[in-house]
Structure formats: C-alpha cells, structure tokens
C-alpha cells in the first residue's frame, strides 16, 4: 500500500531509548509539524492544556495557536472543518478526546471524509488524521470506555491504525499524517504511561504490515492494540506448559495484512483473535472469517475470538474488569484449542 519509510525492524545503528506512549505521540506530531507546515491540530483543550491526558504538552508553545487550535465542544463541527481544511491543502490532525465521541462525528467521518475521493472520481483528497482513543478499565463507565474501531473499519475509504506500544504509536502516527487519505488512529488510553524502546532517529511504520511479535509453532494469537500485551502474557503462560505460541499484531486493521495472518494460521493450525471491541460484529469476527476462508484446510480447530463482552461497560470495578479480555482468558482458551476440547462444543 503506501510506500513504507522503513521496514519492520529498525535500521542498523539506531540508538534506542525508552519513552512513554504519550511522549511518542507527542514526538510524532512535533516532528511532522516541523517538516510540514500544513500539519495542524484541532480539538478540545489541545493547546495550553495539552489535552486532559497531557499528551500534547509543549506543542502550542512551539507551533503557536494557529497550528494547535483549541475548539469549542463541537465534535461534528470541528471534524467537518478538518475535512474541509484537508480538501484544500492542510493536513489536520483532529483530536477526539474520547473514542466514544466518534458516534457524534460519524457523518463527517463516514459520509464525508471517507467518500469524498471516490465520489469525486479521484479529484478531491482528504488527508486528515483522526486521533482518538479506546480502552476500558479506567472506571469511566459506558460512555467513556468504548473501543469502537470496528464500526469505522466497516466503512470503505478509511484507514484504521491501532498502535500496540510507544514504538508503533510514533511510527504509525507519522505514516498517518503523511497519508493522503483519512486515517483513524485509536490509542489505548491505558497505555499512555507505558514505556517502550523507540529509535532516536526518525522512522515511520508502513500501513498494512503486521508485526510478528513472537514466533511460535503451536498456536497463533492475534491481538490488536493493548491486546498484543495480553497475548504476550498468555504466550508466556503457555510456554510454561510447553506450548509455543506465535503472537501477531496487525498494526492496521484497514489495510489488513491478511497474508501474514493466514500464513501463521497455516503454520500453527490454531488461532485465537483478541480485540478490545465488543466481540459481536467486531474485529475478531472479520479476522477469524478471513483466516477460516483462506486457511480452512490447515486448521486443526475453529478459529476462536475473544472480544469485550457484549454489554455496555459498567462502572463498578468488579464488573468492568471481567468485561475485557485477559491473559488468563486467552490462556484458557488456547489450552482448550490445543487439547482439542472444543471438538465437543462444535
């Protein structure tokens, strides 16, 4: 798809350092804004406050209020303004404070931004990035905890990135900003303070290239966003039982690197797909379906899915914690698949 800036592994001789996810996002924005003065940020409390998550701190000081623009609480309005600015030569990064508010901007995102290039027969471009977040267990209840990437992934014309660590957060955001198409990037807000190794040098991560986080032979665990860590922890637990799990991060769900996923499925014969969106009619269904279609005769067990429970997200911690996928849940499911226990069920 879009021309990769760098391959999946970092270039030789790159100095690395640990930075937080939040800092990685900040760096990506600052670097792109330095290189391209058409890059602007639009959103609520993005300037002096640097967002409630303090991710954008320092940007308004460097780039001024003409480029880091505080808006009123008008999500449909400022998204629409972003679309129009993008059509006429800017590269707006629209900041949506909570992923749950995507419901407010669906028309501007899905009827306008996603379709303008097609409806104009290729004449209009909308190089806009919508940066937003996802993730439960912050005790923020049903309207501030959703992971709604599946619903936008369903709409042709949008690219969807889901970084799983600081490294991906920076590299995918830089690619998103340079992309001439509307891109939605979902950051797990629970990961903002997590650190990871990130190169000192500039890099970008191409869209549509999954990353094999850990190689394995017995079962494939596919995880998006923070579910990559959940899968890695489950893989550790499986290792202790002598089961060798492969962990894959698709990194972008549109475009989806079907090839890497299918090849892994063919190799291991067993797959679990883990995603923090609601399970039904979600991302896990799509990935599982593609694997079943393309690797069916190699599979020893049905591809199974673990998403968030199909319930609104409850406030009470005792309830909220059981709605999201956990390493234990993935481990148990993997054990069932490997032991053939699911044969009875199916």
């Amino acid at each position: 798809m879009s021309s990769p800036m760098l391959s999946m592994s970092w270039p030789e001789g790159n100095r690395m350092r640990e930075i937080t996810f939040s800092k990685a996002v900040n760096e990506a924005l600052a670097e792109e804004m330095r290189q391209d003065e058409t890059v602007i940020i639009l959103g609520e409390d993005v300037a002096e406050a640097g967002t409630p998550f303090k991710i954008l701190s320092g940007l308004v000081e460097e780039f001024g209020t003409d480029r880091v623009i505080d808006t009123p609480i008008s999500e449909p309005g400022f998204t629409g303004i972003g679309v129009g600015a993008a059509m006429t030569g800017m590269r707006p990064v629209v900041d949506l404070m909570f992923g749950d508010f995507i419901f407010l901007i669906m028309d501007q995102l899905c009827n306008q931004a996603a379709k303008a290039h097609y409806m104009s027969g290729g004449k209009l471009n909308v190089p806009m990035v919508l940066r937003t977040n996802m993730g439960a267990t912050r005790r923020s209840a049903a309207q501030h905890s959703q992971s709604l990437h599946a619903i936008v992934a369903h709409i042709p014309g949008l690219k969807i990135a889901m970084p799983s660590s600081a490294y991906e957060a920076k590299g995918l955001l830089k690619t998103a900003i340079r992309d001439d198409n509307p891109v939605v990037i979902f950051e797990d807000k629970l990961m903002y303070q997590d650190s990871a190794e990130v190169p000192e040098e500039e890099y970008a991560i191409p869209f549509g290239q999954a990353c094999v986080k850990r190689e394995g032979t017995d079962i494939t665990l596919i995880g998006t966003s923070s579910m990559v860590q959940v899968c890695e922890k489950a893989a550790d637990m499986l290792q202790e039982k002598g089961i060798n799990a492969e962990v894959i991060d698709p990194r972008t769900i549109v475009p989806l690197d079907e090839k890497t996923l299918v090849e892994s499925a063919k190799k291991t014969g067993r797959v679990i797909v883990v995603d923090e969106g609601h399970q039904s009619f979600g991302v896990t269904s799509e990935i599982a379906s593609r694997i079943n279609e393309k690797a069916f005769y190699y599979l020893d067990a049905p591809t199974t899915r673990i998403g968030a429970m199909d319930v609104p997200i409850p406030f009470s911690p005792v309830l909220e914690d059981i709605t999201v996928p956990t390493p234990e849940g993935v481990f148990e499911q993997a054990m069932k698949l490997v032991s053939g226990e699911l044969i009875d069920a199916a």
């Binding site: 609520e44 409390d45 505080d70 009123p72 609480i73 923020s140 209840a141 309207q143 406030f315």
Partner: protein, 334 residues
C-alpha cells in the same frame, strides 16, 4: 439580590433550600475526600459553588417533573430528592447504588424522583429532556422538564436542533445553562461567540440571565417559569452565572495556568451561595446562627454515616455484568 423577591420567600422554603445546598456541598466534600484517599474508583466532577442553581430550580419542581443532568451531576441528583446512601453507594460502585453501581458518578440519578440521568456526553441529554417535555404535552400530564447543561454544551449543535422543535411545538421544557465560566480548561469567551441568551431568543424562546449564586433569585425565576411552562407557555431558556470551586474534575489540581487563584478566592469569599443565604436567613430573623449550625451538623453526620455505610456495602455480584442489557433478557450472555 432583589429585595422584593427575597421578601416573598417564606422561611420554610428558604431553610429547605439552605439545607439542600449544604447537602450538596457536604456530599461533594466527602466525594473529594474519597477520591483523595483513593477509595473512589475513577474521577468525578464537583458541583461545589454551583449549589444555588440546582437547588433554586429543583425546589420549584414537583417530584413528577423531570430533569436531565450532566457529568457534573451530583448536585442535580441531591436537589431532585436523592438520598446520600444510595448516592455514595453508586459513587463507589456498590450494588445498592441508584444504578446498582453500573453507572457511577457520571450516570448517577434517582430515577424515581424524575431524574432521567446524568450524562457523560456533553449536551447529550438535551434531546432527552425535550422528549420528556413532549411526553408531558402529549399525555397532558402538566409535567415540566428541566435540562441542565454547561456553557460548554452550548457548542453542541444538538442544542439548536431541540430548541427549534421545542419552540415550534411549545413544549414545557426549561433549558438551564450553568455558565460557570469554563469548559474544562478553557474560558467561556474563547469558545462561545456572541451571546448565549440571544441564541435561544433567535428561536423565539424567552431567555433570562440570572445570578446563579443567588438561590432566592434563581428560585423566584424558576417558580415563575415552571408555572408558565405548566400553562403551555414554554419553552424557556435560563443562563445561570455561576462558578465551580474545584478543578474541572477532582484530579485537576494545578490549574493556575488557566485560572487564577485570586479569581477562585473572590467567588468563594464574596459570592458563595450558602454564605449568602445564611446571612439572609439570619438578617431576616428566619433562623439563628445556632439553628443553622445544627442543620450543618446533621447534614455532616448524615453524609459521614452514608460514606461509612457505602464503604462497607457489597459490590454487585459478577453475574450482574450481563443483566440489564435488555429489559426482557435476564442474562444476555447466558
């Protein structure tokens, strides 16, 4: 404060409102403590400083009248008649909470008193309140609906859509805009062009601006508008000039970059709605300082008991997680 209006208020009503304002302040102080001592899950938005708005308006309503509330919803909840125990239980995610712990601070509501919910989407309940008013009109119940929302919510297009319909259809709804000068970390003048009341007036809606720190003025206005709305003269719009004492939420501690401490001190010292009503009660001989202190002590004790109760109240059973998704399915994932 307008002398005439105040004179009209009888001691009983004033004392009731005094107590309700104190209850809100006390609730919030306890909630803040629960946060600071890490006993409360998540964050919460304090209503302290804005008590006269919720109380002045809700005191003019009947339990059957409806309100909708916001992310800053504890005050409306108390003012519309809720009890501390079920409120603290909700705040702490316990089963005995008004929402069985499923809603938390941002969805807290005593539904049986006509509170249709706090709402974590800014402006999200403007349609709901207007719909409640439509029900009142169609069913001829003579209920009134009050929609509470902040100055920040005036930036949401939904407000103009529903004001238009409320005006076209003469609905018994009162739009109560709590203008506390800020939306999150931004001053109102930076996010609101022109005049907020003029926006309502452009739809043919009668609009008022009132000192939201003067519970007597708020209540007098509310009583007259509620009465008129019941008689089919609605909708109405009220902009209530007020102030929040705390940060945007309990975690917003270092806030001098957007708001001066002196400004906060000024509002707290010189315009506090509770202090002002207290003086009025004493000056007019409606109550002694001692009597008011007793009310305060009773409210404090009530709150402390409720907190203690809630801290020990049981969490919902894990099996609750897939209940109440649909009305007619016990466990949706069973």
């Amino acid at each position: 404060m307008s002398k005439t209006k105040k004179a009209e208020l009888n001691a009983e009503d004033a004392l009731r409102m005094f107590r309700q304002m104190l209850r809100i302040r006390t609730f919030e102080n306890n909630a803040n403590q629960l946060y600071l001592s890490a006993k409360m899950p998540g964050l919460t938005h304090m209503y302290s400083g804005e008590e006269a708005v919720a109380v002045g308006i809700c005191d003019a309503l009947l339990p059957t009248d409806k309100i909708t509330s916001t992310h800053r919803g504890h005050g409306h909840c108390v003012a519309k008649g809720a009890e501390f125990k079920a409120m603290f239980c909700e705040l702490l995610g316990r089963e005995e909470g008004y929402c069985r712990g499923k809603g938390g601070s941002m969805h807290i509501a005593d539904q049986s008193n006509g509170n249709l919910g706090a709402n974590a989407i800014v402006g999200g309940s403007l349609g709901i309140a207007t719909g409640a008013a439509l029900t009142a009109k169609l069913k001829k119940t003579s209920d009134v609906a009050v929609c509470f929302f902040g100055d920040g919510a005036t930036a949401q297009g939904l407000m103009y859509e529903v004001m238009n319909m409320a005006a076209l259809w003469n609905l018994p709804v009162i739009y109560a805009c709590e203008n506390n000068g800020y939306s999150e970390y931004t001053k109102t003048e930076e996010i609101a062009a022109g005049s907020i009341t003029a926006r309502a007036e452009a739809f043919g809606i009668e609009a008022h601006q009132v000192d939201g720190q003067d519970v007597i003025a708020v209540n007098a206005l509310a009583k007259s508008l509620v009465e008129r709305a019941r008689n089919g003269e609605g909708p109405f719009f009220v902009e209530l000039m007020t102030y929040r004492y705390h940060g945007h939420h309990v975690g917003d501690i270092n806030r001098e970059y957007y708001r001066a401490k002196t400004e906060e001190e000024d509002w707290k010292k010189n315009r506090d709605p509770i202090i002002r009503l207290r003086s009025w009660l004493v000056e007019n001989g409606h109550a002694t300082e001692e009597a008011l202190d007793e009310i305060n002590a009773a409210v404090t004790e009530d709150a402390e008991n409720a907190v203690a109760y809630a801290l020990n109240a049981p969490y919902p059973a894990a099996s609750e997680v897939d209940m109440h998704v649909f009305t007619d399915v016990e466990h949706v994932l069973a």
